[in-house]
């Protein structure tokens, strides 16, 4: 539990955000967690947003981290996979500054890139659960049995999340609705990046429209922007039965309440408070955390790492079943259990075998039964 007793008066921490601090998505989730830390510990946050070379020509994240240190930061949070190398470089160059690399795996003993860096902590929430719930919600709501997943770019993380959504959907489809797994269609279309870049990525608006046109009636978003929600809202306005599930940020439903089934979100606050407290009171220890939801109440913002808020468009019946699903997960239901095959037909987990964290974190392909590209080459 967070050590809210520690006082952070006079302690400054810095955050580097990959996108705008008010993006209503990934970056804002971190920004609000920073505010939460300020409130809980009395520490001071300084930040630089839009930390990417397109927005800040000629800068590197470690250089910007230096800026934060120059302004008094004793701890720096890097918030994007893009900054993995920079955070390593920075951590090594500044052994007396604490570093949190959110979504990284450098100091994971069982990870592939393990390195000893005493001043680094890796944080991540188990969004796999959030996505399972999202998948379940989608399956319970879908009339056509066709779920579209709007994917960003293809990597371990995005595959893992898409697959989790699929597992959740399949489970609720077969177990709760008693339908045939073969009747569930789960398709992933990747746009190529976390948001749309004209002429470079596919247009998520077109992807969403295409899903809807092809009879996919629930769109689960894996990207940072809300095109899925917007297009579902538009289709609904013209009388179609279409829903969407956005991503990342607790407030994401707002742009389309009438079609929003709910949103799986990150809640970085508690983990930040705990880790920053340990930096303040000297109990800091380098580690890798892949934090579970607070199962007693996954929406307890003082405790949970990831959550799922139900949206206005979720029917009450489905809502109850979603709650039941969450309860089952809390009680130890594990969907990452064999038999599970990979998309190319190879066996991923033999019957009854439980996936290790490594197997989930480094998922090499989409799972059997999912449509869409698995690898980018």
């Amino acid at each position: 539990s967070p050590k809210a007793s520690t006082s952070g008066e006079g302690f400054t921490f810095g955050i580097l955000m990959v996108g705008p601090y008010n993006d209503h998505g990934w970056s804002q989730a971190h920004y609000e967690a920073g505010l939460y830390v300020e409130e809980k510990l009395g520490a001071k946050m300084i930040y630089i947003d839009k930390v990417n070379t397109a927005d800040r020509p000629g800068t590197t994240p470690d250089q910007l981290a230096d800026e934060l240190v120059a302004q008094g930061a004793k701890l720096v949070i890097f918030n994007s996979d893009d900054m993995k190398d920079a955070s390593t470089e920075f951590a090594k160059a500044n052994p007396d500054i604490k570093v949190i690399m959110a979504s990284g795996d450098q100091v994971w003993k069982d990870g592939r890139d393990y390195e000893v860096m005493d001043n680094m902590v890796n944080l991540m929430g188990k969004m796999t659960y959030g996505k399972m719930i999202a998948g379940c919600t989608a399956a319970l709501t879908s009339k056509t049995g066709k779920i579209g997943y709007l994917g960003p770019l293809i990597n371990d993380e995005t595959r893992r999340l898409a697959a989790s959504a699929f597992l959740g959907a399949k489970y609720c489809w077969t177990e709760y609705l008693g339908k045939d797994a073969a009747d569930l269609s789960f398709k992933v279309t990747w746009i190529g990046f976390w948001f749309n870049i004209p002429g470079v990525t596919s247009d998520p608006t077109q992807v969403a429209d295409d899903f809807i046109a092809s009879g996919y009636d629930v769109i689960i978003s894996g990207i940072d922007t809300t095109e899925g929600l917007a297009e579902a809202k538009k289709a609904a306005a013209s009388g179609q039965a279409v829903w969407a599930i956005p991503y990342d940020f607790i407030g994401s439903c707002e742009e389309g309440k009438e079609v929003c089934l709910g949103v799986p979100y990150f809640n970085w606050g508690p983990a930040y408070v705990e880790t920053i407290s340990s930096a303040i009171d000297g109990t800091w220890k380098s580690n890798f955390q892949w934090n579970e939801p607070y199962w007693a109440n996954i929406n307890d913002l003082d405790k949970t790492a990831v959550g799922f808020v139900k949206g206005d468009a979720l029917s009450s019946g489905a809502g109850e079943q979603v709650d039941k699903f969450i309860k089952e997960l809390a009680d130890g239901l594990n969907l990452w259990v064999g038999p599970l095959g990979l998309q190319d037909g190879t066996v991923y987990l033999a019957g009854g075998v439980v996936a290790t964290d490594q197997q989930i974190w480094y998922l090499p392909q989409l799972l059997e039964g999912m449509e869409g590209q698995s690898v980018s080459q």
Binding site: G19, P20, N22, D23, H24, Q28, K50, A54, D55, K187, T189, W190, I191, G192, F193, W194, F195, N196, I197, P198, G199, V200, T201, S202, D203, P204, T205, Q206, V207, D209, D210, I212, A213, S214, G215, D224, T225, T226, E227, A230, K233, K234, A237, S238, E254, E255, E371, G372, Q373, S374, S376, Q377
Partner: protein
């Protein structure tokens, strides 16, 4: 894919093309008058932001679109002032404005990030909308998409069929000749640049209030569209109909890129998105290559029938810009 899905997908292509239609038509009008408005990429962003901010603040879609037109017109006014009155290089002024307007949009638009805004409602046209296939394809969109159909022939008729359109062609072709025929070249260039700017200025709000509703700053996914529109204007050979076909082709290829994604597992999605650009370069090449010296030299050695054939072919493909495009006019 089912036929229905393909049909809806194609209908979607028409909607996503709408803002670009306005951008290329506006740019075509401006360039027909002899002024290149290179600021278009910045204008799209600034008007998208401005249109969104105004519509959020006023609660009115109409004011959002009006704001877009006003901003587009103002930016174009700077281009016109710089090039018509001050006789500075249009490319330079436009290029700088492209960058300034973009950054300005991000800076001023920051407080409006992610706010919930209005979205142009879909507006099915009663009778036409019920025609099978055609109805789905063309008549189940929003108002601006319908306007985008209308502005193409309207611009074409204006430029090529009306009396003022003849003058418009004239001031872009040979301003001195238009001047002796009684046209106030400077005023008309101002007028058409600003008008073109206002039309371009509609494209931003169509994005932020319809096609990609909302304002998300740097992640709005709008940066680059203006450059694309500029390229398509040239592709269109300064003819609104050809330019519009270019836009539809571009949007269609984008759609095709994602539809084909599952069947082309070896190709990263970014690569398919880029397909329109080599295509555009190829087209420009075909359109222009007839004017190059080495081609005429090469053709000269071919036997007569082959030479005639290629000559005719190259001439048929050729498109020339307004002769006075980019040059200032001085009456004395």
């Amino acid at each position: 894919m089912t036929n229905e899905a393909i049909l809806l997908g194609l209908a979607g292509v028409l909607t996503t093309a709408a803002p670009l239609i306005f951008a290329v038509v506006g740019e075509t009008i401006s360039e027909r008058g002899g002024v290149i408005n290179l600021s278009i990429n910045g204008t799209v962003l600034l008007t998208a932001m401005g249109g969104f901010a105004v519509s959020v603040s006023t609660g009115s879609l109409l004011w959002g679109f009006v704001a877009g037109m006003v901003i587009g017109a103002l930016v174009a006014l700077i281009v016109a002032f710089g090039s018509v009155t001050l006789k500075q290089n249009q490319v330079a002024i436009g290029f700088v404005l492209a960058l300034v307007c973009r950054d300005l949009a991000y800076f001023i638009g920051n407080p409006y990030m992610g706010l919930e805004g209005l979205r142009l409602p879909s507006l099915d046209i009663p009778l036409l909308g019920d025609i099978p296939i055609i109805g789905t394809l063309f008549f189940n969109h929003d108002l601006m998409t319908y306007l985008s159909y209308l502005i193409i022939p309207a611009a074409w008729v204006w430029i090529f069929r009306t009396r003022p359109g003849l003058v418009l062609q004239g001031i872009g072709e040979k301003p001195a000749a238009a001047f002796v025929r009684g046209s106030n070249v400077r005023r008309l260039r101002y007028l058409y640049t600003v008008l073109g700017g206002a039309i371009i200025g509609l494209s931003g709000p169509i994005y932020s209030l319809s096609v990609k509703a909302g304002w998300k700053g740097t992640i709005s996914g709008l940066d680059g569209l203006g450059w694309i529109a500029l390229a398509i204007t040239i592709f269109g050979g300064w003819n609104p109909i050809r330019a519009a076909l270019g836009v539809y082709l571009f949007a269609f290829l984008q759609w095709l890129g994602l539809v084909l994604q599952p069947s082309l597992p070896g190709v990263p999605s970014q690569v398919l998105q880029v397909a329109p650009f080599p295509l555009m370069i190829m087209t420009l090449l075909l359109v222009n290559i007839g004017n190059t010296e080495w081609v005429t030299r090469t053709l000269a050695v071919l036997p007569a029938p082959l030479r005639r054939f290629f000559n005719r072919l190259l001439r048929a493909m050729r498109a020339s810009p307004p002769a006075a495009l980019g040059t200032p006019f001085e009456s004395e």
